[in-house]
């Protein structure tokens, strides 16, 4: 079918991953942190699929399914924690939760 250079796929995944990374380091709002997390997870999934496609093996897709499962569980728990955080501090600022410091 189409001959797409694998590198471009991986490059795309890498780009998305770094964007997600910027998101996490940058945003103080917990929601955005979680969102960036999702982006990174998705980028990883993309890399798997590209590799799977390259070697024509189903492992890539299976890995993606597991990443999906992980992402789902993680989001559920993350959002629940955000709710608790919000109830306690009435704001979504990540820096407030810094009791655990030296």
């Amino acid at each position: 079918m189409t001959s797409v250079a694998m590198e471009y796929g991986i490059v795309l995944a890498a780009l998305l991953f770094s964007l997600g990374l910027i998101g996490i380091m940058l945003r103080r709002n917990l929601i955005f942190v979680l969102l960036s997390l999702e982006i990174m997870l998705n980028a990883a999934g993309l890399a798997f699929i590209v590799a799977g496609a390259r070697w024509a093996s189903t492992d890539g897709q299976i890995m993606f399914i597991f990443i999906l499962a992980v992402a789902a569980a993680e989001v559920a728990v993350g959002l629940a924690l955000i709710l608790q955080h919000y109830r306690r501090y009435n704001t979504l600022d990540a820096d407030l939760a810094s009791k655990m410091r030296g």
Partner: protein, 630 residues
Amino acid sequence: MYDLLWLIPFFPFLSAILLVVLGSRMPRAVNGAIGAGSIGLSAIITIIIGINFLTSPPEGHSYTQVLWSWIDVGNFTPAISFHLDALSLVMIFVITFVGFLIHLYSTEYMIKDEGYARFFAYMNLFVGAMLVLVLGDNLVLLLLGWEGVGLCSYLLIGFWYKKPENGYAARKAFVVTRVGDIAMLIGIFLLFMHTGTIHIQQILDMAPRIWVEGATIPVAASLLLLGGALGKSAQVPLQVWLPDAMAGPTPTSALIHAATMVTAGVYLIARTHVIFELAPAVMTIVAVIGLVTALIAGFTALTQTDIKRVLAYSTISQIGYMFLALGVGAFAAGMFHFMTHAFFKALLFLGAGAIIHALHEEQNMFRMGGIRKDMPVTFWTFLIGCASLAAIPLVTSGFYSKELILWKSFSSQLGSVWFYIFGALGAFITAVYTFRMVFLVFYGEKKTEISHLPGTRILLTLVVLAFFSTVAGFIELPHTMGDFTLFSNFMASVLPSVPVLEYSLGTEFLLQLIATLLVAVGIYIAYVLYVKNPEAVNNLTASPAGQGVYTFWSIGWGFDWLYDKVFVQPVIFISRINKQDFIDSIYHGIAFATEVLHRLFTKTQTGKVRWYAMVLVAGAIIVITLAVLL
């Protein structure tokens, strides 16, 4: 009869232990009796054995009694064994006899002192240790006696421990003698290493076969042994402690710092004479040291005001003469002078003690005077002692022994005319300061009242000692007066007779005449300066040069000042600066460093999620770059 030998040192030790343990519980009379009695018993046994030794000498003129084997490791097998021969017989005779008299004297002299039992315990311990030193068959046992004697001198100098300066004098004595002991220790090691045995007799008869004359080992060994002897006998480099040792009670000074301990060095050199003979260079060093000490001590004694310090310096000077005799190879003459010196010096010290007690603890001679009439016995016995010290001819023992030394120093192969000249000069100075002391103490007007006269026991001892310090000289008459050499033939079995160059009788007589003349002039000068016009001395020392010389002499030629600057101050300084042990600060440093690092790292934990994300990414980058680059 000889197997009673071990009893001689045993009695003093036994009574010392008794006094220490039960001393405080028993009345003074009993303590005194035990203290003096034990030495008396030893004296009696010594006399018995002495007579036995003279009449029927044991084979080989020596007797060895082994009590038990002390240590035996490999070929190092010192045993607790006593060796009696002519030399040690003379020594133990003097120690026990003079020791007994001094103990008798101190039973009355120390009667008012609160540490009565303690005093006798230490004195007995001292006599015991001295006897072990003299009778010791091997060098380690000799060292045991040597250090024991040093300890007792420390204990007795610091007897009145209340005053710190006594404590200081005692410490000074112990440390200085200990420095000499270290030299001796190394000497013993050297001898043991090269002869494989520690027994003195074996070393002595092996030495000539192993080493040729002047070989490095005998020279080194004899020099080291000389170091030990100098320390103990207070000769030039290490003589600073003896004058301060006068801080102890007078009987102590009499026994330890006049009669016995200070002559331990003389005994050591006489005992190991074979090694010294193998090193003639060292023999001359001994002679020179003896002479130099005699002169220095003589000059210093001229300027002393305290009666006991005069006697102390005169002791150093007389031992200088003994070293001179040993140095020129006249071992018998040295021992003879030791014997006579023990008598008259003990007499002088005890006399001085009686005087000090009479003038209620006044020791400065310039505040005494005119007690000739009030204390006749003390005066006459003191005079005999001084005569013997100054070596007044024919009538005193000091004359015979000192003449013998001067003659041998002139006539012996190793001797030289210079030895004789300086020796005679020394004799002259001795005469001056001795009679200076007599005139100052007994003549002139009375400055302090007499509190109480000495008791019978003190006078008795003074008289006995006076008798001996005159009679003892007659057993060794020089050629010019009958050539009756009983003492040296007695000693011949142990000490070799010195190779003498042939001189006519006339020269010997001439030299004796010169010496006696010098003594007479000395006495006259002392008379002029201190009796006829006392202010003559002041104008002599008035001029700045005179004053300088006077003070220089009075502080013992500046040795004390020198040692203080060279040794004492640096040691105190070193010990002060590093009180807190700088190595400890290394470990404190480590602890401090960990604390600083800890405080640094806590700053990195800000608790913010984003900060941790950044650190995570930075870490990842570093790892990947490393992976990529390497």
